[in-house]
Each structure stands twice: as structure tokens, then as C-alpha cells.
Amino acid sequence: MNATARRMTSLGRAELTLLGRNKNNLFIALLMPLLMIFVLRSSLGQMGSDELPGGMAGTTVIGGTGLVLVLVVYMGLVSALVARREELVLKRLRTGEATDLEILGGAALPSAAIALLQCAVLAVGGVLVLDVPAPRRPDLLVLGLLAAILLLAGLAAATTAITRNVESAGLTTLPFFLISAMGSGLMVPLDLLPDPAANIARLLPFSGVMEFVRAGWLGAGDTEDLLTAALTTLVWGALTVFAVRTWFRWEPRR
């Protein structure tokens, strides 16, 4: 095992132990996604989702995948990173051999693994229980999931810059959650939005990766749509990297 993998594994392992000992974060990581998926399913029922390309079940699985990712990776990681920063753990880790990226990556490993596991459970459950047709393009689905995790981990790191303490993480993560729920196809399918709104919604941070997840399940429609999605994601990715490099703080404000 090379040094980077060894360092990230031991940081990730410590982070997983901590997650297991924190009831709040455990709740967000394990029960919140389940809860939100039920909410999603019942609200889809009222929207007249029969005309949707994926049907109600397919839309639930796609939106649910997005919900899992945002709740577990983004919201979970913001509170984990802020907690480590305020405990001066990040500062202490920076005196060691791990690089900045390894420290952030190691912290994100457990959330990423849990999110992927939940997406897998959702996919298997969707196919077996809800009779959703198996993903037409598994390659695009996997690509979408991995891109989503990278983007969300970066956005989480950026969000810590405006999060003073663990308690305020619930508030600072809310805008991105709401924007994504409404505009990136988590709670409201884009097909149900009026055209001009849908076009703007496609440019939101999380819309690009969601387009890939959708294409993974339902099959790639328009190549142009996928290209727009890829470009949108890359631009948001670059902005996120810039934000993290500029504003990320490794220790509490004095």
C-alpha cells in the first residue's frame, strides 16, 4: 500500500470510529436519507408523475440517489470538518506527514463509502421491489456518482469557511440542500418545471451530476444535454477548488 493510501485509510478509519460515536451525525448519515426518500415518494404521488420518463418509481430512485449523496456526503462532511477544525485536530494533522488533500480526503472517506453503499441498496431495492428497469448505462451512473462525491466533498470543505461551529452547520448547509432539492431534480423532477426555469436549473451546481445519474438509469438521450452537464460540473468544480484554496481555514478563528 503506498503512503497516500496508508495515511488516508488511517484518517478515514479514525473518522469512521468518530461517526459511530456521534448519534447526531449517525442519524443524518443513516436515517435522514430513508426519511427523505419516503417524503419524496409521497410528494411525487401528488405531482402527477405518471407522465415522467422514469415513472414514479424511477424518479424516486434517481431523486433518492441525489438526496443520499447531498445528505450524507455534503451535510455530514461539513459538520465533521468543522468539528475537527474547532477541536484543533486539522491543525495538529497538518504538522504531520499527510498532505492537505490527504487530510480532507481521509475525512471524506467514511461518508463517501456510506453514501455509495446506500445508493447501491437503493438501486437494488428499486430494481427488485419497485420494478424499476435496471440502469441502461451503468458506466454513466458510476461516473455521475463519483463526480458527485468529489464535487460535494469540495463544496463541503468550501462551506466550512462560513460555518463558525458544529451547531451552525445545519443552517449553513441549508441553502445548497434547498437549491438542489428544488432545482437539481432531487425532490422536484426537472421535467415538471416550466421551460425557462428548467434551463436555469440545469446550470445549478448539482444539476450536472444529477443529469449523469438520470442518464445512467434511463439511458443517454441527448448528447448535447450530457455535454452541458459535464461542462456545468467542471465549472462548479473549478469554482469549488478556488473557494477552498482561498477561504478554507485549518484552525478556529481567534
Binding site: A14, R92, T99
Partner: protein, 313 residues
């Protein structure tokens, strides 16, 4: 290469214009214990953080084992151990889990048991960090700093919060490491710690090094003092002129670089004049006096400098 640490004209400014480190130069040869001494806010931690590579200096150069600790972090980190002034550990991990996490981030780490034994924490392995006392946390921090068998060890106030016994244990450990060839840079505001532990020390005040050398050199540079009270009716003016006496009422203080000669002259005079010197007390300079004198003197210097700037404008 004989110097493990080299600082040349180091400066560090913070946003808002405050300059915590204002041009510091010193070197630490391999295998030496070097202490940075100063009051709170003297700039000790800001200086050490530059050498640890946690921040880049706004001017000047830092070299640790021949490398720039900030830009060549990857080359320096595996060879140094760092104990921050305020260590950070996840409060819900146990001691053993914390050591295991740190060992995973360290090349050629010592066995966890060995490091914990060295600081006397082996029996606390299963205890959560949040249940440790302040002193135990300091010792755990030290154990982690030692984990990678560092060539250079940075200790920022290593014994703050320790009881007397813990402090002496830490000193013994640091001396043993030095004897094995480890270079140690430590900061402290305990004068006793610097005096007994350091091969060389530097006294910092307001971001500058005011005095440096071996503990005995530093104290030798300061004058010794003699204090006594004259009986009623004997004016201080009657003291021999050769003694540079400062009087405050009947209380007299003499500062001298030749304690024996001055004391002899004083006692000869007292015997001939038949004067009894009450509360007679003579002592060589201690580090504490050197330290306090420097602190007050630089305050005065700074006022002068600011004054000059004002008139220059």
C-alpha cells in the same frame, strides 16, 4: 551540515498589520536543546510555527535540516516531530485509537506501546481523550511528536499544565532524546525550565530576540545586585562613590558586574563607619532578573523608536 535549524531575518505579519515576529535570526546545531523564552505574546509560537512549516514568513528564510519547511514540507515532515501549544485530538477517540491514527500518518513509526510508555500513558490506552486531564493530553501530544523518531523536535510550551513531577519527567525525557542526538527547539515561559534544560536560549520580547547565549552567559551579562537598608541618620550619600548605589529613602540597591569587589568595599566601609546594614542581601543575576530587566528595558526602547518615527513624519 551542522545546523539543524537556521532562522535568518524571519518576520511574520498578520492581517490587520500586527507584526508578531520582527526580524529573528538564530541557529540550532544538531543535538542541542535550544529554548525560546518570553512572556505571553512575545512571538515565540509565531516563530516556531514558521519553522514547523505551518506558515510562510513575510520576510526572511527558515531552514530545517537544510530545507525550507514550508515549501519543501514533504522533505522535512518525516524527519521532524511537532508538539503544538494547544494540541488537537478528536475528543471521542481513545488514546490507543489516536496513536494508531497518527502512526498511520507517520513513516517508520515506533510501536504505540513504546511511545506511550515513554510518556507514562501506557495504562490509559483505552481512555477517551475527553476524559484525560490537561497534563495527560500534553503527554499524549508529546508521545505523538516522538512517534516518528524525529531528528528535530519542536515543543511549544511542553510542560504547561503539568504538575512538578510530570514536568521533571518531561525534562528527563527531553534530555535523553538530546543525548541520543535529537535536536530540540522548545518554547517556554518557565525560566527554571529554560535554565535547567536548554544548552542555549534566546529571550524574545515583542517579536525580537533581545539576548541569547548559554544560560550562564545570559545571566553573566546581567549585573548582580546588593540590597540593604541604612539605619536612620545615615544618608546614602555617605556610601563610597565607587559603588553605583541607587537609594529610595533608606533602602539602597547596588548593581555591579563585580559582586565580590563591590561587596568587599561595602563591608569595609560599613565596618569603618560602624554602620549596621539591615536586611543585607547580595545575589548574582538570575535568569528571571535578566528576563524582567530586558522586558522593561525594551518597552522603553520601543517608546523611543515610536517617538522618533513620529518626529520623522
Amino acid at each position: 551540515m551542522t545546523n539543524a535549524i537556521e532562522a535568518e531575518g524571519l518576520r511574520r505579519g498578520y492581517s490587520g498589520g500586527f507584526e508578531a515576529v520582527r526580524g529573528i535570526s538564530f541557529t540550532v546545531p544538531r543535538g542541542e536543546i535550544f529554548a525560546l523564552l518570553g512572556t505571553n505574546g512575545a512571538g515565540k509560537t509565531s516563530t516556531v510555527e514558521l519553522l514547523e512549516g505551518l506558515a510562510a514568513p513575510s520576510a526572511g528564510t527558515a531552514r530545517v535540516l537544510g530545507h525550507d519547511p514550508y515549501r519543501e514540507r514533504a522533505a522535512v515532515r518525516p524527519r521532524i516531530g511537532v508538539m503544538l501549544q494547544e494540541g488537537g485530538f478528536p475528543s471521542d477517540l481513545t488514546v490507543a485509537e489516536t496513536v494508531r491514527m497518527w502512526a498511520g500518518c507517520t513513516s517508520n513509526a515506533r510501536p504505540a506501546r513504546e511511545a506511550l510508555d515513554a510518556v507514562g500513558l501506557a495504562s490509559r490506552e483505552k481512555v477517551r481523550i475527553k476524559q484525560l486531564s490537561g497534563g495527560e493530553r500534553r503527554r499524549l501530544d508529546l508521545a505523538l511528536a516522538l512517534l516518528g523518531r524525529p531528528e528535530v523536535l519542536f515543543l511549544d510550551e511542553p510542560t504547561t499544565g503539568l504538575d512538578a513531577e510530570g514536568r521533571h519527567d518531561t525534562w528527563e525525557l527531553v534530555r535523553a532524546l538530546r543525548d541520543e542526538g535529537t535536536t530540540v527547539l522548545l518554547t517556554t515561559h518557565y525560566l527554571e525550565e529554560a535554565e535547567s534544560l536548554a544548552d542555549r536560549l534566546a529571550i524574545m520580547h515583542q517579536g525580537r530576540i533581545v539576548l541569547s547565549g548559554t544560560p550562564s552567559e545570559v545571566t553573566a551579562a546581567r549585573p548582580a545586585r546588593i540590597r540593604f537598608t541604612l539605619p536612620e541618620g545615615i544618608a546614602p550619600a555617605r556610601l563610597p562613590l565607587g559603588l553605583k548605589a541607587a537609594a529610595e529613602g533608606p533602602r539602597v540597591e547596588i548593581r555591579t558586574h563585580a559582586l565580590q569587589d563591590a561587596l568587599g568595599e561595602l563591608l569595609d566601609w560599613a565596618r569603618e563607619a560602624g554602620v549596621r546594614l539591615h536586611g543585607l542581601d547580595a545575589r548574582s543575576a538570575t535568569l528571571e532578573e535578566a528576563f524582567l530587566e530586558i522586558a522593561s528595558r525594551t518597552d522603553a526602547l520601543d517608546v523611543d523608536r515610536d517617538g522618533d518615527l513620529e518626529t520623522a513624519r
